[in-house]
Symmetry: C2
Subunit: 296 residues, 2 copies
């Protein structure tokens, strides 16, 4: 059986002390005493694909270029045939423009659809499901010992969550090594930033694992699948549709990871149980993100 071991360093880790990501705010506690607490920032960022405005996302504001690239990629608006010629971020305008060599097919599609249906949200969603129909993920093996090693390292890494709370984290991992750890206040921005980094760095997806603190909703499952990553693991729980999509596309889906425990609802046949869970230490209180409720 494998042992838990930590190796290597993050390529990108959270930088909780970076200026502009948190703000010290004064208030009072339950006793009426004045307190000053660190609170995460939240800023609007409007993403353009060439001259077409696509969406306004709420983000902590780090890595706007990765966020824009990853969002467009995950929505199926940037395909393998599209050549990105530039990503320009304007801090003052809170705008990021992704430029491609030729107008993408999606841009034209979006213009047409919004004229008839009125809103791109439905369109975007429909296109995501459409893009998923051809997706079959590789049957990459997953070792249980990697899951425990990853959770242990990620929980101990200094982060905005530990500093200020009210934020989600997503980590791109390879075997038992966490590589890129992104956090964001916006629902799926953390995963989009990872997608942007992967696109920029031309990173392979088939040998990666995505770890998230958030729930395994359909949107998280779709994004992970669109990124070509064959394993998605989370501390949180599942939704039925998320599980259904994971089973269809061949995504290994692990949820409710807390201490020794986890549940696998898709991809059991690719999971190698190489470690006795009883030998894994339970989470120390200070590393817990959520309580280990009996009901779960």
């Amino acid at each position: 059986m494998a042992k838990l071991e930590s190796q290597g360093e993050f390529l990108i880790a959270p930088d909780p002390d970076r200026a502009g990501l948190t703000r010290a705010l004064r208030g009072t506690d339950q006793t009426g005493a004045e307190v000053e607490i660190a609170v995460v920032e939240e800023r609007p960022l409007t993403i353009f694909l060439n001259s077409q405005e696509i969406v306004t996302a709420m983000t902590i504001g780090d890595y706007p270029e990765y966020l824009a690239l990853g969002f467009l990629k995950n929505q199926g608006m940037l395909g393998p045939e599209d050549v990105v010629t530039g990503v320009d971020y304007d801090d003052d305008l809170e705008v990021v423009v992704v430029r491609t060599a030729v107008e993408t097919s999606h841009e034209e599609k979006l213009k047409k659809k919004t004229r008839t249906s009125g809103c791109a949200v439905g369109t975007v969603f429909g296109d995501m499901m459409e893009g998923l129909q051809d997706v079959r993920l590789p049957a990459t093996e997953l070792r249980a010992s990697w899951l425990y090693a990853l959770a242990s390292q990620i929980n101990r890494t200094p982060s905005l969550y530990l500093t200020a709370g009210a934020i989600h984290g997503t980590v791109l991992c390879q075997q038992d090594r966490p590589l890129v750890y992104m956090e964001d206040v916006g629902r799926h921005n953390a995963v989009d930033k990872i997608a942007g980094w992967m696109l920029q760095e031309q990173v392979t997806a088939e040998d990666k694992i995505l770890y998230t603190t958030g729930r395994l909703t359909s949107e998280m499952v779709i994004k992970t699948s669109m990124m070509g990553i064959p394993v998605l693991a989370s501390r949180s729980g599942f939704t039925a549709w998320g599980v259904e999509i994971a089973r269809e596309v061949g995504l290994t889906l692990i949820g409710r990871m807390r201490g020794q425990r986890f549940v696998c609802l898709a991809g059991e046949e690719r999971l190698i149980r190489d470690i006795d869970p009883a030998t894994v230490p339970e989470e120390a209180g200070k590393h817990r993100r959520k309580s280990a409720r009996k009901a779960e």
Copy 2:
């Protein structure tokens, strides 16, 4: 000093046993043993305002009519001058249509804007901020004893969260009494369903408190303010922009409510400290939703 007391019953409480809200899914646990767990459903619901498609929301699927009404109200697309003549839900098509006596001004605006800017998301967001400029909430008093009484009752109420996890809850309260408890997998659907119920039932807002399990982001603060509710309280943390908006519109903002503890970052002057926090029991493990981390 006031004592904790529970009075009255919910007008609407979660119904975790209702068919169609959860599904039993089979998987394996960390030991490889087969397990069957309850997982929340997640379905798309497309909301129309008359003939105009507005958005596709992901929802557990209870109360689609309240969700549609509340979403449109909170986005400023339904104003006090708009007369709702019908709300039609089609289960098969997963569509809900809100009909008004005359075409609303927002519909026309949306058609125009989407032609020029391409996507209604930015538009919707801009309109929410626009709608907020005239909002000044009434200086309603809040007693600390109510907060403790509400948290205690809400945490003990049977819910989808306790059955299946991976879901958010929002509760409309009056003084120390929780009235309407909505849950949803979608980010802000729970609060939109409450807004829809309030609109339908013509409920006053100025004497209410909104309790949520989710983070106090700008969007939650904006929605609460648009609903005219002067107090927003949460187990979770804050974002800086959420606090900023709360201070501008006069919303009393309470976060990090766990056991005896809470933090007030806006509206301190309206908070009446009528109870000694030391007399409040700490949360029992089984009622906790998230751990009481020292860092928080």
